[in-house]
């Protein structure tokens, strides 16, 4: 029995073990690698980074815990960028299970930023004045279209139940015209809805941060200039962290990701070579 025939009969659990080791080893030994920056991520970063201080930006948090490892690092880095650049983010949630993630991360990043700001003598950020979370409401397409006219038709209050008009930052915000851009973090089809309705009908500039599964479907939007930037999966998050010069979970995870990819390519090669050898033997 040749080595390839032995591989054909290998227990699949052995492969799981190898994948687990390929993930763990670089994480434990802190193996790092250079993260090359792709053009869609660079455009996204530049679009946010060049906005003037005080500009409002709408961030749609549309994912649940199942997509956290990919989208949470994007959300964290983006929020930090907003605080550092003096932008005013308004968080909106289209997935009910995304609300706690959106609130907790917002509070954590704001706390971390304020701690750093106090040390460096910079201005701290305050909820209601510098950032707001208007929470979740149902509605999908109807809501995305409705916000184009008046945000209060769907969101009378923020996630705490505070009326929008009593939040200083929200007083002059009524619809998409009051936002410089929409940064949508998407695990499902809400990204398509934003592009097809918010962009096409109301002209708001959109950047999509998507899970790797959905990212290929968003490239046609990028090519047709319906979106101005695209972050795809953990790779996109790692690139954004690199551009922000704040390497964190995504940057660390990309080494493990690459190791596993090499392993999978090896498995595919070995599997195919084994298959062709055994087929040749059977024929002869």
């Amino acid at each position: 029995m040749s080595i390839f025939e032995k591989f054909e009969k290998i227990d699949r659990r052995f492969i799981f073990l190898l994948v687990a080791l390929a993930v763990l080893t670089p994480l434990i030994f802190k193996v790092t690698m250079k993260i090359p920056i792709s053009s869609p991520v660079k455009s996204a970063f530049k679009a946010v980074d060049t906005l003037p201080r005080g500009t409002n930006i709408l961030i749609s948090v549309d994912y649940d815990p199942a997509s956290m490892p990919e989208l949470q690092p994007m959300y964290r880095t983006l929020l930090y960028q907003c605080f550092e650049k003096g932008l005013k983010p308004v968080m909106i949630v289209q997935w009910p299970l995304g609300l706690p993630l959106s609130i907790n991360t917002m509070a954590e990043v704001a706390e971390q930023y304020n701690e750093m700001a106090r040390k460096e003598g910079k201005d701290t950020v305050v909820y209601g004045r510098d950032y707001v979370n208007i929470g979740y409401r149902p509605g999908g397409v109807a809501q995305v279209v409705g916000i184009g006219k008046e945000i209060r038709d769907y969101f009378e209050s923020d996630y705490r139940g505070t009326p929008l008009d009593s939040l200083p930052m929200m007083k002059d915000i009524h619809n998409y015209d009051n936002f410089a851009l929409l940064f949508a973090l998407e695990a499902g089809s809400m990204g398509d809805i934003y592009v097809q309705y918010a962009n096409a009908r109301f002209g708001i500039k959109i950047i999509l941060g998507m899970t790797a599964v959905s990212a290929p479907d968003a490239y046609p939007y990028l090519q047709a200039h319906q979106i101005i930037g695209l972050l795809g999966g953990l790779q996109g998050a790692a690139e954004y962290e690199t551009l922000m010069k704040r390497p964190a979970f995504a940057t660390m995870g990309m080494t493990a990701q690459s190791w596993v990819h090499v392993l999978i390519v090896l498995f595919i090669l070995i599997g195919n070579i084994g298959y062709f050898i055994s087929r040749k033997k059977k024929r002869s």
Partner: protein, 208 residues
């Protein structure tokens, strides 16, 4: 005390993660327990969320506090959706379904044309002048669109020139599937990395 609950939460999450991972070895009661717990908890969570974020603030409060009686109409349509459980009056639910389908179709038609079809056609009408990387990309896009559309054109037999173009179309589709599969692998491995990071950073702090 706060610390105790945090630690308990981490241990519970670690146990449930390992219980789900145990399926990789073989199906077992721990996996079944974690799976059922997940389904039940998600359903319960959604129920509470729907009540406190939708039904109460958008229906009960406006009716009881602001007397917005008009909201009884959508409430009625919502309630008759439940008549599907009772075969004799199940036909009533069709009113709500008709309403939803009507709105959905209206929005979808405008969205698809204004937000997808027209911009995508515009995106394909791209310049082919000069000889550089961008022109080559544009050429590949144009050929890809024509060849793929030809593959889905069934009114003429796929033979001769049409057959060759359709074959090129299927090659483009296969490349797209390959890219999608690659991205899917990346997505799934990212989830594994996330869980591994939790287990060996938050639970057992091996990753510093």
């Amino acid at each position: 005390m706060h610390n105790f609950w945090v630690i308990l939460g981490v241990w519970m999450a670690a146990f449930l993660t390992l219980a789900i991972f145990s399926f990789l070895y073989k199906d077992n009661p721990f996996y079944k327990f974690a799976e059922h717990l997940y389904v039940g908890t998600s359903a319960g969570y959604m129920l509470i969320y729907t009540y406190f974020l939708v039904i109460k603030p958008m229906l009960i409060d406006p009716i009881s506090q602001e007397h917005q009686w008009i909201l009884l109409i959508p409430a009625f349509f919502g309630v008759i959706m439940l008549t599907r459980w009772f075969p004799k009056i199940a036909w009533l639910s069709r009113w709500s379904i008709a309403f939803t389908v009507g709105i959905g179709t209206g929005l979808a038609i405008t969205g698809s044309i204004q937000g997808l079809l027209v911009p995508q056609i515009k995106g394909t009408l791209i310049a082919l002048h000069g000889w550089n990387g961008a022109t080559l990309n544009n050429l590949l896009i144009i050929i890809g669109v024509i060849a793929t559309l030809t593959y889905f054109y069934f009114s003429k037999e796929h033979r001769g020139f049409v057959g060759k173009t359709a074959k090129l179309g299927i090659t483009y589709i296969m490349i797209a599937f390959g890219a999608s599969f690659g991205y899917t692998v990346m997505a799934r491995i990212s989830l594994l990395i996330g869980r591994m990071y939790f287990l060996f950073h938050t639970w057992i702090p091996l990753i510093k």
